[in-house]
């Protein structure tokens, strides 16, 4: 799958008109300089040789130099990626902790008022782009109520803890700097909320439909007939079969957040990979764009793999069929 993605990105990067060397050097460069640069990027070689160099670079963790920052893009990506990772992990937590229970409640009390409220919330979540949420949340919490900061990862006078994982919240907890943790948490709430709202809607809709389906099954009826209490039925008999199909989609949603992170980071000036990516796009920075897309695709594929493994473990139909 990753090979396929790499081919796709490679083709997009090469097929589309425009000379990357010319773009990188700008209109003032001489023909000679452009030729030299083309040689350096192996652009004068036949296409399959170019692909070979490209793959060789990826496997060695060397994706070339960024034209804009003049650093190796692998270094760049490793500087910016943790910020994004922190953001989407936090957003995913909100998505799972709010979206799934909301869906369960809606599914359990189908067509009651709690169901309608939950459906309204999820619908609004799904139909509103995350950048619009970002603007709304910013107006309400940062300007009108003035309780949360507007932009960035930390306040200006706060020093980031020494890097261990690159995730400021975790780093500061490890180092015991709890005031930094609180500051970082304050900064992450709004962007994470804006990012999670659309995924949250989807998660709760999906959970709802799966839960309703399970509640129509005969074994739930059976459990009721035995006189088990509703809480036990919900947690023990209904949740697990309903969560298996939900989990697959949650994995997809989690990975898709990387795409939406582009929009949210833009509004909140979050120094993440998305901001780097947009900058790369604006400066036509070929290597940086390729690296960003590859990182995101890799992340996507890995997430899906993990989800598949978890589902296989949870689902006895798959777990036992191999034996």
């Amino acid at each position: 799958m990753l090979i396929g993605v790499s081919i796709l990105i490679f083709i997009i990067a090469r097929i589309i008109p425009g000379d990357p060397a010319r773009m990188a050097l700008g209109p003032t460069a001489t023909q000679e300089m452009v030729e030299q640069y083309r040689d350096k990027l192996h652009l004068n070689d036949p296409i399959h040789v170019q692909y070979w160099f490209f793959i060789k670079g990826i496997t060695q963790g060397d994706l070339g130099e960024s034209v804009y920052t003049k650093r190796n893009v692998t270094t760049d990506v490793s500087t910016y990626f943790p910020a994004t990772l922190e953001l989407i992990i936090f957003a995913a937590l909100i998505m799972v902790c709010v979206g799934v229970p909301l869906g369960i409640l809606a599914g359990r009390y189908k067509d009651k008022s709690i169901d309608n409220i939950s459906r309204l919330i999820s619908l609004l979540g799904v139909v509103t782009p995350s950048f619009v949420w970002a603007v709304f949340l910013m107006i309400i919490f940062a300007f009108y109520l003035d309780i949360l900061p507007v932009a960035g990862r930390l306040s200006q006078d706060t020093v980031a803890p020494d890097k261990i994982t690159g995730l400021i919240i975790i780093d500061s907890i490890i180092r015991g700097q709890f005031d930094v943790t609180i500051d970082a948490l304050k900064h992450i709430i709004l962007p994470a909320l804006a990012l999670s709202l659309s995924a949250l809607g989807q998660a709760s809709r999906l959970t709802r439909s799966n839960i309703t389906e399970v509640y129509d099954k005969q074994y739930i009826e059976m459990a009721r007939a035995y006189g088990y209490n509703e809480f036990k039925i919900a947690t023990k008999y209904a949740l697990k079969p309903a969560m298996i199909p939900t989990l697959t989609i949650l994995g997809l949603d989690f990975a898709a957040m990387l795409g939406n992170a582009f929009l949210v980071e833009f509004v909140f000036a979050w120094p993440g990979i998305a901001k780097y990516g947009v900058q790369a796009i604006l400066y036509k920075d070929l290597n940086a764009i390729t690296a960003t897309t590859m990182i995101i695709a890799t992340f996507f594929v890995i997430t899906n793999l993990i989800v598949d493994l978890v589902v296989a473990y949870l689902n006895p139909k798959i777990r036992l069929s191999g034996k």
Binding site: V5, V127, V135, I139, A256, G259, F262, L263, I281, K284
Partner: protein, 282 residues
């Protein structure tokens, strides 16, 4: 025309107030954007118009949603922005749906090697988050409306391939397909006359739902400055430019943001209504 309102389908559809609201929203927006020249108070504000004395006016009875930095009426620009969005949505789906549908039909009907090749390619496209794929395509193109349409279409067709593929696979074994095969119908006939019409309910529903989401992605692209360029009015661009002046000139970003919400909501409610009406899974 009146016959539609007496039909059984309409009765079922009108039973659900949400679907009717969706239909109303969509029809009002479509009509307004078609007749934008006559309906908006300041149609000339859609272009590069400057009216400095009236700049940064808060919402009032003359300017419903206020005016921007150079005195243009936000309300008029939103209606023209809807026109851009709908135009983008229609063109993208006009490109993506035929490509996706025919590939899905071919892969599902013939199976074997063709199936494997087409579906693997589809999987690769589906394995990149949609917005990222569109962004990486836009990275190599000039940011214009046409190119944004190309980028969004490039990422949209695989969903149709997958939908139609699954439908075709199950329809292939239906009695009417097998019997037309037995009487010697051509592949062409079976695919386009037997299988495709039976996919139409799912297709129409998916197109309606997608119209909203294409508009959403399109506005996201222009929000990042990679889609429609000013002075052409576009909702995404308006939000992104307006957000620079928060919180003082809030109306510049809040109203276009709400406008996106409303149109996507409309298509979504309508699509959900159709889904119940046709009783299809998407």
């Amino acid at each position: 025309m009146m016959k539609i309102f007496k039909s059984r389908g309409w009765y079922k559809f009108s039973k659900n107030p949400l679907s009717v609201i969706g239909l109303l929203i969509v029809s009002i927006i479509v009509l307004m954007s078609i007749f934008a020249n006559y309906l908006t108070p300041f149609p000339e504000h859609a272009g590069p118009f400057v009216d400095i004395p009236n700049k940064i006016k808060p919402p009032s009875s003359t300017y419903f949603f206020g005016t921007d930095k150079i005195g243009r009426d936000t309300f008029s620009r939103i209606i023209f922005g809807y026109r851009t969005s709908l135009y983008l949505g229609v063109i993208v789906l006009c490109i993506a749906v035929p490509i996706g549908t025919s590939l899905g039909l071919i892969a599902g009907y013939f199976g074997g090697k063709i199936d494997a090749i087409i579906m693997r390619i589809t999987d690769i496209f589906l394995s990149i988050p949609p917005l990222v794929l569109a962004l990486s395509i836009m990275a190599f193109l000039k940011p214009t409306l046409t190119n944004a349409m190309i980028a969004v279409s490039m990422m949209w067709w695989p969903w149709y391939t997958r939908l139609i593929y699954n439908l075709t696979r199950s329809l292939k074994n239906e009695g009417f397909v097998i019997s037309s095969k037995i009487v010697g119908a051509s592949h062409f006939h079976i695919i386009f006359r037997e299988i495709l019409p039976n996919c139409s309910a799912s297709l129409i529903t998916k197109i309606t739902l997608d119209m909203g989401f294409v508009i959403l992605i399109g506005s996201s692209l222009s929000f990042l400055g990679l889609g429609v360029q000013p002075p052409t009015p576009d909702l995404g661009t308006m939000v992104s430019q307006g957000s620079k002046y928060l919180p003082d000139i809030w109306w510049l970003s809040v109203f276009p943001g709400l406008a996106i919400l409303v149109i996507v909501l409309g298509f979504n409610l309508l699509g959900d209504g159709l889904k119940d009406l046709f009783d299809v899974e998407i």
